[in-house]
Amino acid sequence: MSLITIIWSMSASASLTLAGINFLVWFQNRKAWANLLFSLLATGTAAWAFCELWMMRAGTPAEFATVLKWGHVAVWVLILSLVGFVRLYLKAGRPWLAWTVCGLRTLLLLLNFLVGQNLNYLEITRLRHMRLLGESVAIAEGVPNPLILLGQLNLVILIVFLGDATVTTWRRGDRYRALTVGGSIVFFVLVSTGQSLLAFYGIVRVPYVATVSFMALVAVMGYELSSETIRASELGRKLQKSEAGLYEIEERMRLAVEGADFGIWIRDLKRNEIWATDKWRALFGFPQTERLELDHILQRLHPDDRDAFHAVLEKATEGDGSYEAEYRVVLPSGALRWIGSRGRVEFDGAGKPILARGVSHDITGRKEAEQETQNLRQEIAHVGRVSMMGQLASALAHEINQPLGAILRNAEAAELFLEDKSPDLEEVRAILADIRKDDQRAGNVIDRMRGLLKRQNLDKRPVDVNELVGEVAALVRSEAATRHVKLELAVANNLPPVLGDLVHLQQVLLNLIVNGMDALDEANRGDRRVSVTAALDGPGTVEIAVSDSGRGVPADKLRHIFDPFFTSKAHGMGMGLPISRTIVEAHNGRLWTENRNEGGAAFRFTLPIAEKDPTT
């Protein structure tokens, strides 16, 4: 058998084998389009090798022409699959060049069948024979088809396309592929094209031997693809191995996160979708399967916390991306839960935020403790204010109890003396004188206290009524809540400031409000209301009223309610109202009480408006 036959048929069969293998690879994995295209390329090579061999052995010019005509089908397959392979495998090459090559080649294939004997020759006139590798092979001679110029243009465009793809791959940094695949393709296509051209124009008297170049091409690409396949399967094995490890790590991670009661979330900012762990969903009260978006979370947020939450998110995307937030969540059951969140926004190369991820956990316990501390602090402030009055009252009580005690004991003694058969009237007279003296003393104590408040302790300044009422309300709010009393405030708009000592006026208001709440201890929980109103009362005077929804002051007590030591409370000292009245009177105001028609008592006091300072 001749060497030519051996080389060409072995090339064809090797190509076919590779084609078969790669077709099977594609058949197993339909996404492996590169393998399918390579399979076609190899098939085309095999077919062309068959045509070339036949042409070399052709007996007549007509036989040569027919084989060459059909050989163009193989070339068409070869070129199209080559272009496709390069696009797919190198992911490079300008698409318009690729389309131009493919379109032109298809057009040429059509023309191949329509014009002349084939694309190369209008007519092959005779065959010449020459010796190649010790054998006589046929070479065609005849009238060239002018369309062959288009074919040559096509090949030039193909080479440009391949060159461009190779350069792009090289620049992308994938130099290995650019060299092995791109470089060798360009080289062998150049070689085969050059050889065909030289043979065609008769410059070198050789038959078509493109098969050799094509075979080399197939070999290089086949090697590349199979090493790719080997690498893929290697990777698959490794992946399988590391997947087991990964699962273990994931499990540990999950354990740690759940142990710490953390919920993890990741927000895809592009798709506005949130992925979260089950724990996180439980924290926010979301079912495990529901699709989550930022809006869903915002709806769960306590209305008061939404703006702050937004502000935190915005700040995070502007700064370094990290953020921390604490907010309340209203669960579907209506319960409140405090959530602490820490997260980080991640940016793409252009600095655009693409992803945010973080952890959230339940901080309700801590928040409640903080709230309690806050309440306690307020309570202490409250006690401080109240005890100021309490201290005064206590000192006063001691002062006043002395003469009152003396009066009582004297009176008791006098009674006993008078029971005697012959009472010592001198003694009784002395007792009565002492009683009168002690009464005077008690009166003096009260006068002294009044004088004390009037003279030095008042630091009168313009006082904003709204502020006065607001501060006292803030002071008693927690106590009102624990006693289930609803505190209502109604201060008229644009009230002018009154002239007074803020601290003393607070004492008065505080005392009246606490009295009001005391009066409600027996009322139904729903009906416990204390309202504070403030309004202008004629020119130059503001009237502040504290009303409660209790039973009101019994008629017989109404007259004595401002007397010192008069009290209706089990532990009352009976000093609050007298002191309050003293303070108000020291402010040139009046303090009085009345039962309201709609029930309950109202304590009203007036204060003078601060004169406008002419300098301002």
């Binding site: 002062e399 002395q402 003396a406 002492d434 003296k437 002690d438």
Partner: protein, 215 residues
């Protein structure tokens, strides 16, 4: 014994109240002495005389509680009643813990006051009797020599003659002689009687005490 009438000592810096309460107490049949301050009372009191003290809790210089502790140092501490215009819990707790008879507001009901004073006087008389008896018992031990007292202290701890002799570095027979002297001088028949007597007289408070003081 003493036929001296017990006296209610009233201590208060408020002269007016002092006069008034003494009138009331006298009208109820008590003998009353009044003092304007605790110092005045402590200076003037007859240490042996029976009675009780009615003191204001709040007084300048020496207050009621100070008076109470000063009184407790004397051989015949009188029961003390406190008066206050306005009772405060910490002081009353301390006063009561330290053995105050009662704690009264100045304007307490008359009956309560009279009851309290009566009770205080009764307590004084009772405690006085106990103290007198103890003094009498103690006087019986006066005839013992120092050595005999020493031996006695070991005997009431239940020590045998041999141990006592060893401890004191004397002969056992000498111990026996001392014991015989002690029993004949105190006119007791048995060790049990001797122990009980010693305990009642409070001769060796640091040794013989069988339960914590002040219970």
């Amino acid at each position: 014994m003493s036929v001296i009438v017990p006296i209610v000592h009233v201590v208060d810096d408020d002269a007016s109240f002092l006069t008034a309460i003494s009138r009331l107490l006298r009208a109820n049949g008590f003998s009353v002495k009044t003092y304007a301050s605790a110092h005045e009372f402590l200076a003037q009191r007859d240490a042996d005389a029976p009675g009780c003290v009615l003191a204001d809790l709040r007084m300048p210089q020496m207050n009621g509680l100070d008076l109470q502790s000063a009184l407790a140092q004397t051989p015949n501490p009188l029961p003390i009643l406190f008066l206050t215009g306005h009772g405060d819990i910490p002081s009353s707790v301390r006063a009561m813990r330290d053995g105050a008879e009662d704690f009264l507001e100045k304007r307490a009901p008359k009956e309560k006051l009279i009851d309290a004073v009566t009770r205080a006087l009764a307590r004084d008389s009772r405690e006085r009797g106990e103290r007198d008896r103890q003094r009498e018992l103690r006087a019986r031990f006066d005839v013992l020599t120092d050595r005999e007292l020493e031996v006695l202290s070991h005997v009431v701890q239940g020590q045998l003659n041999k141990q006592i002799a060893w401890d004191l570095g004397i002969h056992e027979r000498t111990v026996k002689l001392h014991r015989t002297a002690i029993t004949s001088k105190l006119k007791v028949q048995s060790v049990a009687e001797l122990t009980r007597l010693t305990e009642e007289a409070g001769i060796f408070p640091e040794i013989v005490r069988t339960f914590p003081k002040g219970q």
